[in-house]
Every structure is written in C-alpha cells, then in structure tokens.
C-alpha cells in the first residue's frame, strides 16, 4: 500500500538498525522518551524494540490525551450526560476511561445517551438532527485535535446552532514536557518529539528543550521507520556533540506549524490558569478553555458541574508510568487488578496508553520472543 509500506520496509529497518548499533558508544546506556502515545503504539505494534540494541531504552511519555484525563473530569462528563435531554458525543477511545463512578460505557448501559463520533463535525451533525436535544461534544486531545474542535465551534456559531456545546478538556504538550524535565526522578538523553502535535504548532515551541535543559529532540512520524530514524538522528546529535531541535517528520510538519489552525484555536479558546493532569498533578497554563465570546458553546458555563477532584486509586501508578519513571510492568497492579478489560488506570485504557500497548503487544522480553521466532522457523 502506498504511503504505508515504504515506511515499514524490513530491509531498510535492518540497515538503519546496523547504523544505530554502530553509533552507540560502548558501555553507555541511552534513554529516550517518546512523548506521543501514537509512538508508543507503533513501537509495540510493529515490534520495533527488536531492532534496538539493549543499550537503548525507550521510555513512554505523557502524550496520550485519554491517559492524562483526571478522574474528576470523567465524572463531570458523565454528570453532563445525565442531564435531561442531553446527548453526549465522544471519540471511541474515551468510552472505557474510568472515572470515580465508572466509564461512559457504564453510564450508557445505565441509560444515558452517549454516542461515538469520529470527528467533532459529526457531533455537530447530531445536533442538527436532534433540534429538541442538547448535544455536547467531549473535547479531548492535545494540539492535534484542538483545531478541529475550534473549527466546529466556529461553524456552529456561523450556522447559529443553539443546541450544541463542547466540554473542553484540551491540553498542551509543551508544558507537560517541561513538567517532566523539571521532575527530579528521571534522567533522559533526548526526546522523540510529537509528530501530529507538531503539524499544528511546528517545531519552534521545543527550542527551550535543548536551550535550557540541554536535551536533543527530534520530531518524529508515526511509522516504524520514522521512529527508528529519529533514534538514529538523536544518537547522531549526541555523537557529534550537537543538541538541537530536528525535524524527522518534514513530509508533514512545517517548521512554523499551521497558522490557520492556530488562529482558529486562538479565536475560540484561551489558556486555563492551571489544569490537572492525571498522574502529573496540576500544571499551570497547560490546558485550554472556551473564551467568554463563545460562552454559548461552553458546556462548563451552560451546566453546573460537580467539579469534584477524585484522587487516583492508591494502587495505581499511572503517574510514574506517564513520567517514564516506571515501566508499565513495574506497576504493582499491572496485569492483575488492572487489565485492559478492567482498567484501573488510564494508561491501560487507550490503545495509545503505555500499559495497554505493553499488555496487548509486548509483555515478553525480546530474548524470549527471539527464541520463539527461531523455534517457529525451524518447526
């Protein structure tokens, strides 16, 4: 398949893996964080770690929007869905995220009207089709999905649609990366930078990472060769003593981002003073809310929310996993009390969550997997 297969070519991967191995300083251990959940998913889905030497470990970052949503916000969303004559609309991966009182799936089973949509414009369509109901879109995501929410609000305003609002939970990745860099328990050698987020914000917002923290970052695409190449580019920077922002995903990411999208976001939304990230706590200026001008489309203003902060379950170590301090399997409840079918933590829910990716795809050590591979070709 065009635009897919060329980025999954096993022969090219082997060549790149050899170059990566050659660049590794003997005796040195490298730790790179892939910020995006999409990267985590690719790494496990394609078995990419099989190509990396043992001296390189990939640490999974906080870039999974579903994973960082705090439980209290899920409860608020369910409270909205429980209002009379409300239809809640949501992306599919939000459906199983547990709040203090269960998930959207549970709420839907109990009688609320929660529908899966593939785009916020579909939610607007639901609003047009149901003029006697109020339709709320559960807006989640990082900079990647924020513009489409903003455009939908602008379209609703232009069309004068009155029975539509958004429950805005959009967050921004840059403050989260900063929080991780400021966290004392983690030592990283560099970042595999967000790909699709960067299509919107460009590469400039990352310049503080090499400048102030002395860490290289390479913006990366989501195919396995993209990620391998980014690892290679990071190693090259380290080997040559460089430390800068580089763009591996130049086929999609313009250095200055997408100004049209950014303008739409700025028109509709503004910074929140602070917002809670699951596991990471409150991070200042890390999320967006609807501007006063568009208050009519803001579910938080139209309805009263419980707004109760719900503590993460004591046993859950999603915070440490999201910060890259723990590997998923090092969490106390991984795979026992917390499984994809009965998740306690959000990292086990989304297909982009590190724990779910590890549980569904990884789970066995590279060595074990290789043994099986050899055994099966002999059989």
């Amino acid at each position: 398949m065009r635009f897919v297969d060329e980025y999954r070519d096993a022969e090219k991967a082997r060549a790149l893996a050899a170059k990566i191995a050659a660049l590794c300083e003997p005796g040195r251990h490298y730790k790179f964080m892939e910020v995006c959940g999409g990267h985590t998913h690719t790494i496990y889905k394609h078995g990419l770690e099989d190509y990396l030497p043992e001296s390189i470990s990939l640490v999974h970052g906080p870039g999974c929007p579903v994973c960082v949503l705090p439980m209290g916000r899920v409860d608020d969303a369910i409270a909205l869905a429980e209002q009379p004559d409300v239809i809640m609309t949501s992306f599919g991966d939000m459906m199983r995220v547990p709040g203090g009182r269960g998930s959207f799936f549970d709420s839907s089973a109990a009688g609320t009207d929660i529908r899966m949509v593939y785009s916020p414009l579909d939610a607007l369509k639901v609003a047009r089709q149901n003029p006697d109901k109020h339709v709320i879109f559960m807006a989640i995501g990082m900079e990647t999905t924020t513009p489409s929410t903003a455009m939908t609000v602008l379209r609703a305003a232009a069309e004068g649609i009155e029975n539509f609002s958004i429950f805005c939970n959009h967050v921004m990745i840059v403050p989260a990366i900063k929080a991780i860099l400021d966290s004392p328990d983690l030592r990283l050698d560099g970042f595999i930078g967000p790909g699709h987020v960067s299509t919107i914000i460009g590469c400039r917002p990352y310049e503080y990472i090499p400048a102030e923290y002395g860490k290289p970052i390479v913006t990366a695409g989501f195919e396995p060769l993209d990620i391998l190449q980014s690892v290679y580019m990071l190693l090259q920077q380290l080997a040559e003593g460089r430390c800068e922002v580089e763009n591996q995903y130049s086929r999609v990411v313009p250095w200055d981002g997408n100004t049209v999208a950014l303008r739409a976001v700025a028109e509709v939304m503004e910074l929140r003073p602070y917002f809670e990230w699951r596991g990471l706590g409150f991070i200042s200026h890390s999320a967006l809310q609807v501007r006063e001008k568009y208050a009519a489309f803001d579910a938080e203003r139209r309805f009263t929310l419980p707004g109760v902060r719900v503590a993460d379950p004591k046993a859950c170590q999603c915070g440490e996993v999201l910060k890259g301090v723990l590997k998923p399997w090092e969490c106390k409840v991984f795979g026992t009390a917390c499984t994809p079918e009965m998740p306690i933590g959000t990292c086990m829910v989304s297909s982009e969550g590190a724990c779910a990716a590890y549980y569904n795809f990884g789970r066995f050590s590279r060595q074990r997997i290789q043994e099986v591979s050899i055994e099966s070709s002999r059989a």
Binding site: M1, H46, M71, R96, S108, C338, S376, A379
Partner: protein, 398 residues
C-alpha cells in the same frame, strides 16, 4: 506548579478491584521482590508475566453491574460472560468444550447442533443481508464442526412498523442461501415487539447436521508443528458492513464474503481428513480470536507471519484509517484450519481447488512455548503478541 486540594474523593470501585484481587492471590506472590524503578527487562519481568498468567487463570468473573456492548463483542468480556454466567449455570459435558457446535449422539449417529443470533446493522449491505448471513453463519458453524449441514430453524423478532417488503427480501435470501447450502428450514417462530423496542429485524437460526464416522475435530487437539491455514482474504465482511453504515465517509469497492463453506470444508476433509485437527469459521473477533482459542485450549503457542495473511488492499486501507487490525475483523465465509505439517501442502491445494478457497494459504505454525499465547512476526520484522480483543471496534456486524 503543584496545587493543594483538600476535596479529594476516593474511588471505591478501584479499591474493591485491588482488594478482590489480593484475596484471590496465591502465596507465591509473597516472594515477589519489590520493584526498582527504571531497571531493565530480566528475571523480575518474568515474575510479572507469571503473575499475569495466574491472574488470567483465575476463575472468570463478571464484575460489571450492567451489560455493556463489550459483552457482545466476542473478546474477553464475552468470554467472561459465557464462562461466569452461562457455563456456570448450564454446566454439562456437551457444552463444556465451548466449540462452535455441540456434538450429540443419537443411536449410532453423531449430530452437530448449533445456534446463532443475528443483529447486523444495516440489514442490507453489499454482498448480502441479514437473511443469508443468518443461514450461512449457522451452516458454517456446522460445517467447521465436520458435520454435513441438514436442517435449520429460523426465529424472527420484528419491530412494529418494519416494511413487509424488506422482510420478503430477507426471507427470499434465506431461502436462496438454504438451497445453495443444501439445507432446509424446517421450523420457526415469529415475535413482533413495539416500535423502538428492536431495530427492525433480528433473526435467530439453529441447525443440526450429521457428523461422518471417525472424525474428531477440536481446537484442543492442536500440537506443536501443526500448520495454521486461512482459506482466503480476511476482514471483508466486517469492513463492508462498517463502511455501509456511512458514518465514516469512506468508500471502497468491497463486498461481504458471506457464503456457505460446507463444500470448501468437505473438499478439505476428503483430501486430508485425518490430518485436520480443527477448523473454525472466522466470524466475530476474526482470525485473532480463533487462534487465541486454539492456544488456550491446546496449551500451545501460535506464531503468525503477518506478511502471509491475505488481506485485500481496501480492507487494509480502511483498517489503517480506523486504527484496527484486520486479524480481528469478522469474516463470514472464511475458515481457519489447523492441520498436521505433513498434510499442509495438500490441505492448501484442496482449499484452493474450491472458488471460495482460491487464495488459501498457510499463515503460521503451532509451537510449544509459551503456552496460551499467539504471536505475530510483523511485516516490519519485529514481534508482538496478538491478544484477545478488548472492547468493540466494530459493533453489530453479524
């Protein structure tokens, strides 16, 4: 910035889940070393994996208070529901193997007996409709059990206001499908419910068929060395139905693969009968779910080669866009067969001799270790696990 907050609410269900788990835990866990953050793969990882295996072997429980869509998706939730609620209540030796059809004995004859309900939405889709799906699905469950499908029942649940013309079309397709499969529909039932209490038309079919002497099939008989064969491109039906709903604004020249596989199966059994360990039709949950059943039932591992699995470019494209794996997408006219390695080539040739099996191919092998797991050698050259599906990427496809 950290923020002090006093109004924290505790999460009762999560505490209950952890506690519930702790009480079911085995003593060996006492020896589990405390973890050291950030340390690499090694012995402790193995312990975690063993811990997971123990957790999975524990008796399945349905912890939810209400049925959710996940319980019907064919994945882990469905499995828990079947084992913890249905099997627990109905337990008997004929049900226990949980095969596609039960094997009954009547005098000297052995009969296969099966049932299936159909709730597909939309009712009409390229390549078929709920009617031929309902006949083919049951015919196929009988066929892969090694039986010659003979008689079917048909039960209809109709919604008030459903167009008679649509019902006529559905029933005509059923008659045609039954004729094509050489079965007769010999008994039936009709119920009508109030508008809004059903979605147009639901159908249940049950079927019986005669199993020829000497044939014993079962996923638990798979053994290391055996070859896994699929009879054609996977995922056509699921993706066709998904696209037909029109929610995705995607178009493709794709039709459902709904078809009766009894002749295909007969050809395979005539060629290499004694060397066939098991067959399944890859419906809800797709090929991945079947291979997991094999791995669990036989206590073996299955290794699949991603590049060998036939997938139409349209299906692959749609799956890429939707972020799903074609291995989990339903087929309605494909079988998965586990055969002795010595007979693999002959089995593939036999399947290819039938139009429905033209692109039949070997896709993997059974190996000894690690038991209960299905693994994929990815096209990219890596390796990963293919687990049972959680959740429901494609609801109501059959």
């Amino acid at each position: 910035m950290t923020h002090q907050d006093t109004s924290q609410q505790q999460v009762n269900w999560a505490q209950a889940a952890v506690a519930g788990h702790a009480s079911a835990k085995h003593d060996e866990d006492a020896g589990f070393p405390t973890h050291q953050p950030g340390t690499e793969h090694g012995g402790r990882e193995q312990l975690v994996l063993e811990r997971i295996e123990r957790a999975r072997r524990a008796r399945p429980r349905v912890r939810e208070k209400l049925i959710t869509l996940a319980h019907g998706a064919g994945g882990k939730a469905t499995q828990s529901l079947i084992e913890a609620i249905f099997l627990d209540a109905f337990r008997n030796p004929l049900l226990a193997p949980l095969e596609d059809a039960a094997t009954l004995t009547a005098g000297d004859s052995r009969l296969a007996f099966t049932t299936d309900s159909y709730v597909v939405s939309p009712l009409f889709f390229p390549g078929g409709n709920i009617g031929d799906l309902a006949v083919n699905g049951t015919v196929n469950d009988l066929a892969v059990s090694g039986a010659c499908p003979a008689h079917l029942s048909a039960g209809f649940i109709l919604e008030e206001g459903f167009p008679v013309e649509d019902l006529r079309r559905i029933v005509e397709s059923m008659a045609a499908a039954a004729a094509a499969a050489g079965v007769s529909i010999v008994t039936g039932d009709t119920k009508v419910v109030q508008r809004g209490k059903a979605d147009g038309c639901y159908i249940n079919t049950a079927g019986v068929g005669l199993i020829p002497g000497g044939l014993t099939l079962g996923v638990s008989t798979a053994r290391p060395g055996d070859v896994v064969i699929v009879s054609g491109p996977v995922g056509d039906h699921g993706i066709t139905v998904m696209l037909e709903r029109g929610e995705l604004d995607l178009d493709a020249e794709l039709v459902s693969d709904t078809a009766p596989v009894h002749e295909l199966v007969r050809g395979l059994l005539d060629a290499v009968g004694p060397d066939v360990r098991a067959m399944r039709d890859a419906t809800r949950g797709g090929v991945a779910t079947i291979l997991n059943e094999v791995a669990t039932a036989a206590g073996v591992a299955v290794v699949v080669d991603e590049d060998s699995v036939p997938v139409r470019p349209e299906v692959r494209g749609a799956c890429e866009i939707l972020g799903i794996d074609p291995l989990y997408v339903a087929c309605e006219g494909r079988i998965v067969a586990i055969v002795d390695p010595g007979a693999a080539d002959a089995a593939v040739a036999a399947l290819q001799g039938h139009p429905l099996g033209a692109s039949a191919t070997a896709v993997g092998r059974i190996v000894e270790d690690p038991p209960g797991l299905v693994m994929l050698k990815t096209g990219f050259g890596g390796t990963r696990i293919i687990d049972l599906l959680v959740g429901d990427p494609l609801p109501r496809i059959c």
